[in-house]
């Protein structure tokens, strides 16, 4: 059983997990203060015969304090989050040297098109493999997402990356894997009765392994 976030498999995992932990600390403090306060009040001010409640309609200073503190905290959190958001999803966030892969989603499979030896999509040496996403480690990857039919969603938990795949739109998402290994790509947007089995295997290779795989897969695809 996992009790924590999955393995950190991409460069996004650092900032996203960091933010998650920061929010966990902020909300954890708020949670403990409120719940402990509630329990304390419940015990301390429980009704007893002869006791009368303190007659008050409030306190302006208290209102100002407990409006300001959450407001400042939330705005600060928004600024920090936005800093990372722009790096991860901003319009110009995709690195220029990112390695392109096209993924076409349809009920209920992922068709992954690789750029072939020239490293460019849309050339004759492109080839397509079903339900297998092979990527080299340590290099930014940009996936060009398109859909045949309904909305799907590209999700690899270890990469902390998710992007809806919308019919009629070409959407780019990027990530940089950091740990070689085998992961799973799942559809995370309800796409029909086969939604639950719309999965693909993700292989993060070392650059040498990747080149070897690429040669072999291109051969097989030609046949």
């Amino acid at each position: 059983m996992h009790w924590w976030l999955p393995l950190k498999g991409s460069t996004f995992a650092g900032p996203i997990d960091g933010l998650f932990i920061a929010i966990l600390i902020i909300t954890g403090i708020a949670f403990v203060l409120v719940e402990a306060g509630l329990v304390w009040f419940i015990v301390k001010y429980r009704g007893r015969p002869g006791r009368k409640a303190f007659y008050t309609h409030g306190n302006t200073r208290a209102e100002v304090i407990w409006t300001t503190i959450p407001a400042v905290t939330m705005v600060a959190l928004g600024l920090v989050s936005n800093h990372y958001w722009v790096q991860i999803k901003g319009r110009d966030s995709v690195p220029a040297n990112a390695y392109p892969i096209a993924i076409h989603a349809k009920q209920f499979e992922w068709q992954v098109t690789y750029p072939g030896a020239d490293g460019q999509l849309g050339t004759p040496d492109d080839f397509t493999v079903r339900n297998q996403l092979h990527v080299p480690v340590g290099r930014p990857i940009v996936v060009h997402l398109s859909s045949e039919d309904v909305i799907h969603s590209f999700y690899v938990p270890q990469f902390r990356v998710r992007q809806d795949v919308v019919p009629g739109m070409d959407i780019k998402a990027w990530f940089q894997p950091t740990v070689p290994g085998t992961y799973e790509l799942g559809c995370s947007q309800l796409c029909g009765l086969g939604h639950y089995r719309m999965r693909a295997q993700v292989y993060v290779h070392t650059p040498e392994e990747y080149d070897a795989w690429m040669k072999q897969a291109a051969q097989e695809a030609k046949q």
Partner: protein, 588 residues
């Protein structure tokens, strides 16, 4: 004094010579309409629970025959084994029934109807016949949605959010009539809510009793008033979107058909432009009623009444500019994501203010833990968790990871069950005497509360951990994924807790029905409360007051030094009180 009052009685309120049908079926009495909504939506609450139980079986024991599942037809569960196409119908219809036909009508249909005229001191709604039409439209909508469970190719199956193009094209979803009935039902329901909202707004503005100024309104009325404004503005958007969807489904229009130039994201913008105000429709009335109950249970004026009102108004306003936070990873322009993130984080502020003021109300109180107070306190404790977990998904980078996982499922159930439903258990118990003239059983109410509190947390808290592990929502068989296989014991734990939680609700249903017929007879004011409704007999008669009461103070004057007892009703005239200058509008 009594003889004077007797001779002053107006005959029409005294002699109730309406036929049975006029009195209980096609009634224009706001209290009967509220009670009609109560019975119908409790039925749908139970139905939504039954659907959830089937889902939970499949998630814990995928592919195994469900006990009692043999009675389902082969198109749903052959041999008791739930099919994927039936599972996604369960997902869709559980959400649909709970949001549109259980929580929303329980909060608004029941309590806006029942409480507004009683609490502001008037005879009935401004438009009683429109009010009746509102109920019967909602009833028709419920019937249509219920019927869609039984059509040959099954109910709608695109999730309660009905994302296009899956919902718009039958070849994608595999359902036709079921999808169309969903659209028809939602159009009817939207119309019903529009009529209801119109009525609540007009009534609150025009029909307040003499002396009932805006800042003497109970917070329940304030929240229902703001909710009605949200409903009046949001529901037309939903109905409009549902009409477009229905046209796509049956007339082959192409609003959402991307193969013919339609826009898939258009639906999401329309749906969530309705959908986020809807979230506040589902929580604001609960906040209002909890405020009333906490002041009563603490025997203390509400702390920071004005802040509470401004917080309700702020939530009502900000609720319109946060819808994009449902769409951070939808393909929407990421720059919009930034602005929606900021507005979403800001909306946490008025929510926090409310929590602190509830705590301030309990501080140095004389806490009376009757069943409504227990549930209201649980509301605060659970709403805090639901509110704080919302901050994770408001932060866009974190949302990219936890969006559409069980973290969201946990969050929304902490708000809708831990929030709205606990508030409703409190509200039903609190106003039961005024509705039916009897009191619900206190011991059984406490047993129900504690068991619900424990099993509820056992059911929904572990879902946060599932979500952190990356478990996606709406997955028929989580063991398809290797990374989710180790999480399966947690799914079993959640399912067992969910069954116990469901079984516990039977205590509530039995208590409800038993108390309806055999409960202890209630006196005028069993909770020693200040609201105007408690000056009426239990149950309150048709037309409420013969002469509307006069209001001399706010609704939360508990433990006031002016009187010996620890409550001071809004309409009780003390020697120092002056008559209000004039009524906002003469009663009819």
């Amino acid at each position: 004094m009594t003889s004077v009052a007797a001779t002053a009685r107006v005959p029409h309120a005294h002699h109730d010579d309406r036929s049975f049908i006029r009195k209980y079926i096609f009634s224009t009495d706001h209290k009967i309409i509220g009670i009609q909504f109560l019975f119908v939506s409790l039925f749908f609450l139970l139905l939504g629970g039954v659907l959830a139980m089937q889902m939970r079986w499949q998630l814990a024991f995928p592919g195994q025959p469900m006990p009692g599942g043999g009675i389902l037809p082969d198109t749903m569960a052959p041999g008791g084994v739930i099919l994927p196409e039936y599972y996604i119908q369960l997902v869709t219809m559980h959400g649909t029934f709970m949001v549109f036909f259980a929580i929303m009508p329980l909060l608004v249909g029941v309590y806006a109807n029942f409480l507004i005229p009683l609490k502001i001191g008037t005879h009935d709604m401004a438009f009683p016949r429109i009010n009746m039409a509102s109920f019967w439209l909602a009833f028709a909508a419920g019937l249509v949605m219920f019927a869609s469970l039984f059509v040959p190719d099954g109910a709608a199956r695109a999730g309660w959010t009905m994302y296009v193009p899956l919902s718009a094209r039958h070849d994608y979803s595999g359902a036709s009539l079921g999808q169309e009935l969903w659209s028809v039902s939602i159009i009817l329901l939207g119309l019903s809510s529009i009529l209801g909202s119109l009525n609540y707004i007009t009534t609150v503005i025009n029909n307040r009793a003499p002396g009932m100024t805006w800042f003497r309104l109970p917070l329940s009325v304030w929240s229902l008033f703001i909710t009605a404004i949200l409903g009046l503005l949001a529901l037309p958007v939903l109905s409009g979107a549902a009409i477009m969807l229905l046209f796509d489904q049956v007339l082959n229009t192409h609003f959402f058909d991307t193969t013919a130039g339609g826009q898939a994201l258009l639906w999401q913008h329309l749906f969530w432009f309705f959908g986020h105000p809807e979230v506040y429709i589902l929580i604001l009335p609960a906040m209002g009623m909890v405020s009333d109950i906490i002041a009563n249970g603490s025997r203390k004026p509400i702390f920071g009444y004005h802040s509470m009102v401004f917080a309700i108004v702020a939530i009502g306003f900000l609720g319109w500019i946060v819808w994009g936070h449902h769409m951070f990873v939808s393909g929407m322009n990421p720059t919009l994501g930034s602005s929606f993130m900021v507005s979403t984080l800001i909306i946490a502020v008025p929510s926090a203010v409310k929590v602190f003021n509830w705590m301030g109300t309990m501080w140095r109180g004389n806490l009376q833990f009757h069943v409504p107070m227990l549930n209201a306190t649980a509301f605060v404790a659970m709403f805090v968790i639901g509110g704080l977990s919302g901050i994770y998904m408001a932060a866009t980078p974190v949302d990219m990871f936890i969006h559409d996982t069980y973290f969201i499922v946990a969050h929304l159930h902490y708000v809708l069950f831990g929030g709205s439903l606990f508030a409703l258990f409190g509200a039903i118990t609190f106003w039961f005497p005024k509705m039916f003239g009897r009191v619900m059983s206190e011991p059984w109410g406490k047993v129900h509360f504690w068991l619900t509190f424990v099993f509820y947390n056992c059911t929904f808290f572990p879902m946060h951990i599932l979500g952190m592990a990356g478990a996606m929502r709406r997955i028929y068989d989580p063991t398809q994924y290797d990374f989710l296989k180790p999480m399966q014991p947690m799914n079993v734990f959640i399912t067992v807790s969910a069954y116990l939680l469901f079984a516990t609700q039977l205590i509530f249903f039995v208590n409800f029905w038993y108390s309806l017929f055999k409960g202890k007879k209630a006196d005028l004011n069993p909770w020693r409360d200040n609201g105007l409704e408690w000056s009426l007999p239990s149950p309150a008669p048709h037309g409420n007051w013969e002469t509307v009461p006069t209001v001399y103070r706010g609704p939360y004057e508990f433990s006031s030094p002016q009187v010996a007892e620890d409550y001071l009703p809004q309409n009780k005239k003390l020697p120092t009180d002056r008559e209000p200058a004039s009524a906002p509008l003469a009663g009819h």
